[in-house]
Symmetry: D3
Subunit: 131 residues, 6 copies
């Protein structure tokens, strides 16, 4: 509410949905991107949980907030624990230094936001649609 970070997270979720429809209708590359995404995060030798934590650590190092917000949710929906989130942040810190620490804040706020939301509205399934 009076917290801009929560507003940012919620706006990011709305903009993702909105753009998803637009891109699905008008972009030629988007359908292939969605296939690529599905293939990349499907369970294989590595679980989807590990892959989502990997994407989270990349998102922190590359300072991509909408990516963090998405992948932290997907990581939790795939079974990631709090300790595992912090360890993904450890690796991101080693690979990104101070800016990674600074962006980990948004990842942590997104994590907290998602847990709150789960508490009030019940568990969710992993959704389709891109980071």
């Amino acid at each position: 509410m009076d917290d801009l970070t929560v507003e940012k997270i919620e706006q990011s979720r709305r903009d993702r949905k909105r753009s998803h429809s637009l891109l699905a209708g008008k972009s030629r590359s988007y359908p292939h991107f969605l296939e690529l995404e599905k293939a990349a995060f499907a369970p294989g030798e590595l679980t989807s949980k590990v892959k989502e934590l990997m994407a989270l650590s990349i998102s922190i190092v590359t300072r991509c907030e909408p990516c963090m917000e998405w992948h932290v949710e997907q990581a939790v929906l795939s079974g990631a624990s709090e300790a595992e989130i912090y360890e993904a942040i450890d690796v991101a810190t080693e690979m990104g230094g101070g800016p990674a620490v600074a962006y980990a804040r948004f990842a942590l706020r997104s994590y907290e936001y998602f847990l709150d939301r789960q508490r009030t509205s019940g568990p969710h399934l992993r959704e389709a649609a891109s980071d």
Copy 2:
């Protein structure tokens, strides 16, 4: 309004104007940057439209929101069509993966914002001043 993305776009426009005056008065490099910018986007073998779409695709891949907001407007003012905007996003998606898709959302919201603004206040000319 109650939409943070629109607020962000409008704040970006205000901050650009404000900093333009400050930098014009106090920075030694800024005047040369403005010359460089003018030279880079002037029509040559490639039209200004193509150059602005190029800058838009770079802005998406490098995740620069104020750059997107500026270059999407300049692209439209230079005659870019909706389809061309989407094709610039296609190239950015190939060159930037998921984070490019995530930031293309802001480019699309900026595009929409600019069209709305044009509808209510009449056509504009390409302005001077940097991305």
Copy 3:
């Protein structure tokens, strides 16, 4: 107030404090990061002021807003003048082009915010805790 950039700066300050406690309690890498940070910015052959200006210029080129907001404050608390801030922006502009100019706006707004705050609440000492 009705200015989103100021809100963003203040939110960034709140999120830094909040995450600092969380990371101090739960992250294994964070204590070492804090030591690394202290060593990197301690005065040596280069003054802390120069090191903070250096970090500011890196923050602008890498488009890290929370980093800018932090290092601009640290630079001023270490004695940086307005002219020195502008010269750090000059170097960032040379090394980052248009996107650096675009993100320098946030650095300038943070600078202005910090001066205002100093005027109303008296001088501050350099705080501990990361960018």
Copy 4:
């Protein structure tokens, strides 16, 4: 020969071919990436030439040498002139500053390499396979 840049370009071409076979056989995401790439660079409202020049400018700003080497060749095979290559470098310079100028050197060497190669071995068709 005694020129490391030419060696680098030729090694990049060999490594592309080699990895293409490996990834085609063992990666799940790669086939979708190839589809995405094909969709992104297919002629639409923008020609393939413009799209390749766009990718070239992104490659320069993001400092991706194998990408430059590939997209400069594809741009030429799609009909790009020398002047158009230089204008893509202009836009990259505005969007990337000094590092873009520094990496444009590799783009120019790749351009020269490709023209030489065309002169000695006759014209080529645009090949399949990724940047």
Copy 5:
């Protein structure tokens, strides 16, 4: 030998050792960086293998060749299989697009180099010293 990529890998290994001694003797931040690194990659809720694969995927997306060369070796020494390496590349591809595919080539060459080396000189233990 006549392969520049192998030369590059071997030079990277020599330069790592050489700089390690220099930095250990002359840098104030380096000892803390080494502590941070140790903490980040120590087994916790996530195994060292997963953390190294995570670092590998970050290295590919951020186009850091010496990082790839190091983390691919550490991943294998921590027990990563070929399939797991390819899945880390899948995630990097989704998060980095074409440039990630282009840099994955270096990761694959490094992987191959390391396997060859292991075959000829026997198994190695994970070494200390940074990426």
Copy 6:
């Protein structure tokens, strides 16, 4: 000689000269870039030495090898000491983590190369022409 890093440094120097002539003749943005560069590094409230060290730290964090090779030389020609070079690396390490440590190796090799060259061929003046 049999050291690829030295070859890389020398090739970078040759390619800089070569591209300088080409860009000076054929690029519209380049002359303005050179003016911008001159303004950015001219002594002001900060010395050229500090500005070059700043650019060096940015080059390390952004992983730009030709930039490092250039700015380390300019830093030394402006009077930077070994200790100051290491402190610029400290700041880069804090701002860039492991990849900054990895690329600092190239900065250190370039520093060593330049000192060797100075020893054998006598002192040089700061040259014109870009990073």
